[in-house]
């Protein structure tokens, strides 16, 4: 028995070595292990790369990132407070759960989660998928996904896990990966570059209008993308794509730290619309548990007349640190940021955007709606910067904060840097409360207080909700109500 194990181990090591790995750092992990050993070292990085059967260039890229990361410090400028993260006390890779390790039916899932699924009106088979219940191959969504795949193929759109793209479309990935968010961009992005587990890759060829909304949800392999997700979307000249990330259903995850990186590249005349609904576990009413979500999202309007539009609905996570941004490099390019951030109980969100105007006649628009309830803190942080070359740049920013109750906080931190006198930058900000007379008016017409709050908040967010694709918008509206449950006495 022991001997057989030994042989297998040796074989495994050999297999890894054949992939171009060298064990010079004392790489002792069994490749068949479900998890990388605890902690972060070059070995961990090699392990992940080997697990993914990556080419050498990718490994070197990761190792470069890891070495830089070791010299970096965790940023502390955001208005969020949390216990120091011990990076050596976590796991950085876990194999996707096999069918037999998954819950076998919905009976094994936390009833609280199931209740929320019901409120959101999610069909049963989708509930199973979301809750990670083992499902067999004749599953509905699989056949749906297959139909989608065929359609996409026909249009020439590549839409696959990034690990697959690294193997099958290496040149494309290599050409664009890290060109929007450089490896050394920031502490969390660098960490992600070293250890990212999987994510999504999209390439839309020249002149193609992607025939459907792309959503990770429909990608069969997307169930366990893990805590370090990496997304790269390239819209070639004159193309259009709308991408939906995330899900309104609450997702639990054993990993507390999430550090995703999303890079978008829009070439000449291309348009990318990126919508997110983030509803990770926010922790309980007393602020225990919950995900730390440190995300780097950036889009590069690389070509003239290109457009990138971010829409986000952030309701989950204990801590959100996230600034989807646009580099308006091409002349006449357009960047947009529409955001709803809801914090309840002890949640903290520090979110906003950066619009960097480099090209002539570039335009940007920022609409941010922050809602705080309970003891939550909600910060909008934004930067609009206009470079000397950016003649006639325009920005419009509107930041509205809504407070529910007296113990929460809203903060607005807008920075403006203009180095071109022809630029025009407008900024408007409001802070309001749900007024007692509004609540009374609603209850007098028969709407219970909690539903009234949801209605009023949805009204407050309308401009942003309207940006979401139709089906997503309906779910997001319900989600707004659910996230604020318990916020009125």
């Amino acid at each position: 028995m022991a001997a057989a194990n030994e042989t297998r181990k040796a074989e495994t090591k050999l297999a890894v070595a054949e992939l171009g790995e060298k064990y010079k750092y004392g790489f002792v992990t069994d490749i068949e292990m479900e998890r990388a050993p605890k902690g972060l070292s070059e070995d961990t990085v090699r392990f992940i790369s080997a697990k993914k059967s990556e080419p050498e260039w990718m490994l070197q890229w990761r190792l470069g990132a890891f070495r830089r990361w070791q010299e970096m410090r965790e940023p502390n400028w955001a208005r969020v407070h949390y216990q120091k993260i011990d990076y050596q006390d976590s796991y950085y890779y876990a194999a996707p759960k096999s069918q037999s390790n998954k819950p076998q039916s919905l009976d094994e899932i936390d009833p609280k989660i199931l209740e929320t699924y019901k409120k959101l009106g999610i069909p049963l088979h989708e509930q199973m998928l979301l809750a990670g219940v083992a499902v067999d191959a004749v599953f509905d969504s699989v056949s749906v996904a297959t139909t989608f795949k065929a359609k996409l193929n026909e249009a020439g759109v590549i839409f696959c896990p990034i690990s697959e793209a690294i193997r099958d479309h290496g040149e494309l990935v290599r050409k664009y990966l890290g060109t929007v968010v450089p490896v050394t961009d920031n502490f969390f992005a660098t960490l992600n570059s070293a250890v990212f587990s999987d994510g999504t890759f999209v390439y839309v060829p020249k002149g193609v209008r992607c025939p459907m909304e792309l959503s990770t949800y429909f990608r069969i392999n997307a169930q366990d993308t893990g805590q370090f997700e990496r997304t790269l979307i390239i819209a070639d000249e004159g193309s259009y794509v709308s991408y939906l990330e995330g899900c309104t259903a609450p997702k639990r995850d054993e990993n507390q730290l999430h550090a995703a990186v999303v890079e978008l590249v829009a070439l000449e005349g291309a348009e990318i619309k990126y919508s997110t609904v983030q509803n990770w576990y926010p922790g309980d009413e007393d602020g225990k548990g919950g995900i730390y979500n440190f995300v780097t999202k950036r889009g590069d309007c690389r070509g003239n007349r290109s457009k990138i539009s971010w829409t986000q609905v952030e309701t989950g996570s204990a801590i959100t640190w996230k600034y989807p941004s646009c580099i308006l490099r091409g002349d006449d390019s357009v960047g947009e940021f529409y955001s709803i951030a809801i914090t309840n109980n002890y949640q903290q969100a520090d979110t906003g955007t950066k619009m960097t105007h480099l090209g002539k006649n570039t335009r940007s628009r920022i609409i941010s709606k922050g809602i705080s309830a309970g003891r939550a803190q909600n910060t909008y942080r934004g930067l609009v910067s206009v470079h000397p070359r950016a003649e006639n740049a325009r920005n419009y920013t509107q930041c509205d904060s809504l407070l529910i109750g007296a113990q929460c906080g809203a903060h607005t931190v807008p920075y403006i840097e203009s180095r071109n006198r022809s630029s025009r930058i407008e900024h408007e900000a409001t802070t309001s409360k749900i007024a007692e007379d509004q609540l009374f008016y609603c209850t007098q017409r028969g709407i219970p207080a909690e539903e009234a709050v949801a209605l009023i908040v949805n009204g407050f967010c309308r401009e942003v909700l309207q940006q979401l694709p139709m089906e997503f918008a309906v779910e997001a509206q319900k989600l707004v109500g659910i996230s604020l449950e318990g916020s009125v006495g």
Binding site: D437, C442, T443, G446
Partner: protein, 249 residues
């Protein structure tokens, strides 16, 4: 329908209603008139269950039930409707969405089936037409940027949609032009029914030419000091509150 006995109400520790007694039978329309600050709106808020209006004494029975222990939304579901003196704006929520949400919340509370979007649209359109409320207003955010008169018309439209058992109209006539006043009065009269009662608060006898009340009550300093038939409104108009209050003292 409604039986108020010796009602004392304090707001912010100050007694506003001081022993008000009033009862309205099914099918009747009563008017309350009284000087500014006499407590008319306070009475309407207490009946609707607004927070901060503390009943220190007395009782309110609605269809034989103690109204005071019910939450505002419960009262609404049970048929209590208050057309407010100052309707509230709710940005971003279209009038249609609001009406649908409210109607279905009431129905749900009563254990009735909800009406789908198409059904609500049909119902609201029909009522809106009668009140000359333009379609375009239904698509706008509730009361946001509406003129004073438009807001009042929308209150009556809601009464028409919800079909309450007890409708309290707090100065619905103020801010209306002459044509709108007639339309609103028509709308209110259309609501008259044997199983419905109305309490109309107004400063002007003119409204009562259109909505002819069964009883008129004069409220002064938190008490009903005089009541009578519809001719009392004419007397008030002719002689003024001061004289009547003096007589009553």
């Amino acid at each position: 329908m409604l039986e108020i006995k010796n009602l004392h109400v304090a707001v912010g520790g100050q007694e506003i209603l001081k022993g008000l007694t009033l009862s309205i039978a099914d099918g009747e329309v009563h008017a309350i008139m009284g000087p500014n600050g006499s407590g008319k709106s306070t009475l309407s808020y207490v009946l609707a269950g607004r927070e901060g209006y503390e009943i220190t004494q007395g009782s309110v029975l609605y269809r034989g039930q103690d109204l005071t222990t019910m939450a505002p939304e419960e009262r609404a579901a049970q048929g209590v409707f208050l057309a407010m003196q100052y309707p509230v704006e709710i940005p971003g929520v279209t009038t249609m969405t609001f009406l649908k949400t409210a109607l279905n919340a009431q129905r749900r509370a009563r254990g009735e089936k909800e009406v789908d979007a198409v059904g609500v649209l049909k119902l609201v359109r029909e009522k809106a037409k009668a009140l000359n409320v333009p379609e375009e207003m239904l698509k706008r955010a509730l009361n946001v940027g509406f003129s004073g008169g438009e807001k009042k018309r929308l209150e009556i439209l809601q009464a028409a949609v919800f079909q309450p058992s007890l409708a309290i109209l707090d100065e619905t006539d103020s801010g209306l032009d002459i044509d709108a006043l007639k339309l609103v009065a028509q709308g209110v009269n259309a609501l008259r029914a044997p199983d419905r009662a109305m309490l109309v608060i107004t400063h002007y006898q003119r409204l009562l030419n259109y909505i002819v009340p069964d009883r008129v009550h004069v409220l002064s300093a938190g008490r009903i000091i005089k009541e009578g038939g519809k001719e009392l409104a004419l007397e008030l108009e002719a002689r003024g509150y001061a004289q009547i209050i003096k007589d009553a003292a």
